[in-house]
């Protein structure tokens, strides 16, 4: 039993944290968000580092690492609230890599790994991040199917979503090429979203701690008041709970795939609610300033809200967990 990253994985996390700290500061995020554009220099750099292909098999030009390494990068990009098509691209790559046919993999994965193209994944009727610029879109239906659609064959309507650090769209398409195993495809993409949410929550917690240690009222740092400090403790509990579930799911994706469905549902349910609560708490703990456009906490809150709605709300995943539990217990009861 070793519920911690390996040395290599820790190194990936440190490197990502350092790099994004320099290249994707909150000032940069603001610049991109207010300018309604992406940080193209950042994406070029991430591509050069091979990040989009981290979990794509080597035979398709990726680095051949696993869902844990991908979760680490997704978490760090969430921590940075980076304005980039990373999550959308790796969700598509995870879905095609884990659930696609050999033909689909050969057709799309090399381009996604090299950064030559970007991808997107989302639900019919939902907000699909970065669909407009993507070359390939994985469309998930509410009947459990998923199909691969080339951008040219999709009807993409850009939406001005509340998260300005990312470009959302609604997507529909008539045709498309069904994935061989849509369940595993969607679950792996779901774990990547959960990982990003863990990073968002972690950043909101850290920003809040720095603020409440510094901000004084009644001659005392507000973080000394239990109304505030207990809120912060709750933020840690929510963040760490989401982290436990998400790391478990990422580990299961490769090591014990039969536990992935439960892991993905656990991770998404915990991370969606956790990140929404933690980022909302961050605004509250920042007081009036937290409600202003000038403060940076709202980027995190908005990202959490939109991510939480991707690939199933927490409620949907809780009902899924209930069904999985009932199915496990049914033979015992019978």
């Amino acid at each position: 039993m070793n519920f911690d990253f390996s040395e290599d994985q820790h190194e990936i996390k440190r490197t990502a944290r350092d790099l994004l700290g320099q290249r994707s500061s909150l000032a940069k995020v603001r610049e991109a968000a207010e300018g309604h554009r992406y940080d193209d220099a950042l994406w070029t750099e991430l591509v050069a580092l091979g990040w989009p292909g981290i979990a794509i098999a080597e035979e398709h030009g990726g680095q051949g690492l696993g869902a844990v390494e991908l979760a680490i990068l997704a978490e760090e990009l969430g921590y940075a609230v980076a304005a980039s098509p990373f999550l959308a691209t790796v969700m598509a790559a995870e879905a095609i890599g884990a659930g696609g046919t050999p033909e689909q993999q050969a057709k799309w994965l090399p381009g996604l790994a090299s950064g030559e193209i970007t991808g997107a994944l989302g639900e019919v009727g939902g907000l699909v991040p970065d669909a407009d610029a993507a070359a390939v879109i994985v469309l998930v239906g509410d009947d459990g199917t998923a199909r691969v659609v080339a951008r040219a064959d999709a009807d993409v309507t850009p939406v001005d979503a509340i998260d300005p650090t990312r470009r959302a769209a609604r997507v529909s398409a008539d045709g498309g090429d069904p994935l061989a195993d849509p369940a595993v495809a969607v679950d792996r993409a779901t774990v990547a979203v959960a990982a990003e949410l863990v990073g968002v929550a972690q950043r909101a917690l850290e920003m809040t701690l720095a603020y409440v240690k510094d901000r004084k009222q009644f001659d005392t740092p507000v973080g000394a008041y239990q109304a505030v400090s207990h809120r912060c403790a709750q933020m840690l509990k929510d963040t760490e709970g989401a982290r436990s579930a998400t790391y478990f799911a990422a580990w299961a994706a490769n090591a014990e795939p039969e536990r992935l469905p439960e892991g993905a549902a656990l991770a998404k349910a915990a991370a969606s609610d956790g990140a929404r609560d933690v980022t909302a708490s961050a605004i509250q703990a920042h007081g009036g300033i937290g409600f202003t456009w000038e403060a940076d906490v709202h980027w995190l809150y908005k990202r959490a809200q939109v991510d939480a709605a991707l690939l199933g709300t927490s409620g949907k995943h809780r009902r899924r967990l209930a069904a999985l539990l009932a199915a496990r217990l049914a033979p015992a009861a019978a």
């Binding site: 039993m1 005392t220 973080g223 709970g241 349910a269 809780r318 209930a322 009932a326 009861a333």
Partner: protein, 384 residues
């Protein structure tokens, strides 16, 4: 990252499963005293095969189990639905504290009968006016020749009526120079003397699980001071730190079993298709799994880095809150049955209220998290 047990951990788990399979104490008999005797016998069986305290070093009758193996023990104990040993406070609290601070004579005298349940231990820390603010305790010990004479009152002492010994913290320096944490001393007090009166304290379930302890002129010889006169706060903290580990895994499994049983009851009543019910079951399942996973993350942190991470402070909070939520949900789900005395869910509904108080209130746990994990400043007068 590898969330499977190592070969030796898996072997230990299998060995435990086989042992529990072959060693079934049966159902707890009716009646407080009979039930206690039953748990005492159970502990003797565990001790005979060196399973009573696997985390103790072999020289004291343990197996020198790693912290993960100790967690596995408690998980398997719960999984097999076997009871905790009668002397659980002796095994988890008194024993490790004596190992840390005891003289060779004390270790030799006290440790063996803890394991065999020959001598039961209770914990004399809290007082009516010193709960979360433990260092405010007023029980006094005054030196008289080579003895100490103790006067005061303790409360929430579970198992006191069966105990031979009490881990007693008392004030030995009443001047209070250097603050209230100074001048405390940790004693090993013989409960079998006229100066110690045990009165059962009936809790909201109607059971007397806890006691009040009235101490009037009780005598403790010098050699029963643990860790030195005036060092009681430090020794007591060692006991309290032990309180928060180990048991978490037993409780985590019990929570899981309760949830599974509730889902089975809900299924039998054909309630699972109700989306509100499913949502709540999913939530409780998620919380139970997060508790288990976070407890395991905590183990890795301790084994790898030597000190507990943030996870350790969170698991008791998570467990107590979820256990209460589960009991409350059972009341919603099962209706009048769960509100009728004698029904197990009615019992859980009442008993679980204590979970967020016993062994450190949730409010104190939040203080600990805020101050020691998050590094937030402490408000004057508040403590963690």
């Amino acid at each position: 990252m590898d969330l499977t047990f190592s070969e030796s951990e898996a072997a230990f788990r299998d060995e435990l499963r086989a042992w529990f399979e072959n060693n079934d104490p049966g159902r707890s008999p009716e009646g407080e005293d009979a039930a206690y005797a039953w748990r005492r016998d159970w502990q003797r069986r565990l001790a005979d095969d060196r399973y009573a305290a696997v985390h103790w070093s072999p020289e004291y009758g343990g197996r020198g189990a790693s912290i993960t193996e100790s967690a596995i023990f408690f998980e398997e104990l719960g999984r097999a639905r076997r009871p905790l040993p009668a002397n659980v406070l002796g095994i988890l609290l008194a024993g490790p504290t004596i190992m840390t601070f005891g003289t060779p004579e004390q270790k030799e005298r006290y440790l063996p009968p803890i394991l065999t349940a020959e001598e039961i231990w209770c914990q004399g820390f809290s007082e009516p006016d010193a709960g979360s603010d433990l260092a405010a305790l007023k029980t006094r010990a005054v030196k008289d020749g080579d003895e100490w004479v103790v006067t005061g009152q303790k409360v929430w002492t579970s198992g006191a009526q069966y105990s031979k010994w009490c881990m007693l913290v008392a004030r030995t320096d009443v001047d209070g120079a250097g603050g209230k944490h100074k001048g405390l001393t940790y004693f090993l007090m013989d409960m079998e003397q006229p100066g110690v009166q045990v009165r059962p304290l009936v809790q909201i379930t109607g059971e007397p699980e806890f006691n009040e302890l009235f101490i009037e002129g009780a005598r403790i010889p010098d050699e029963n001071v643990l860790g030195g006169v005036g060092n009681g706060w430090r020794v007591a903290l060692t006991t309290l730190m032990n309180e928060r580990s180990g048991l978490a895994f037993f409780l985590q499994v019990r929570l899981r079993q309760l949830l599974d049983e509730l889902v089975e009851e809900a299924a039998a009543r054909e309630l699972l298709d109700d989306p509100v019910v499913a949502d709540k079951i999913g939530l409780l399942h998620m919380k139970a799994e997060i508790l288990r996973l976070t407890a395991y993350r905590g183990l890795t942190t301790i084994e790898k880095y030597g000190t507990p991470g943030p996870e350790g402070s969170l698991t008791k909070w998570m467990w107590s809150e979820t256990n209460q939520e589960l009991a409350q949900f059972a009341a919603d789900l099962l209706g009048p049955d769960a509100l009728t005395n004698g029904n197990r869910w009615a019992y859980e509904l009442l008993r679980s209220r204590g979970n967020t108080i016993e062994g450190g209130t949730t409010e104190i746990l939040k203080n600990i998290v805020a101050e020691r994990v998050l590094g937030l400043p402490r408000l004057k007068g508040a403590a963690a």
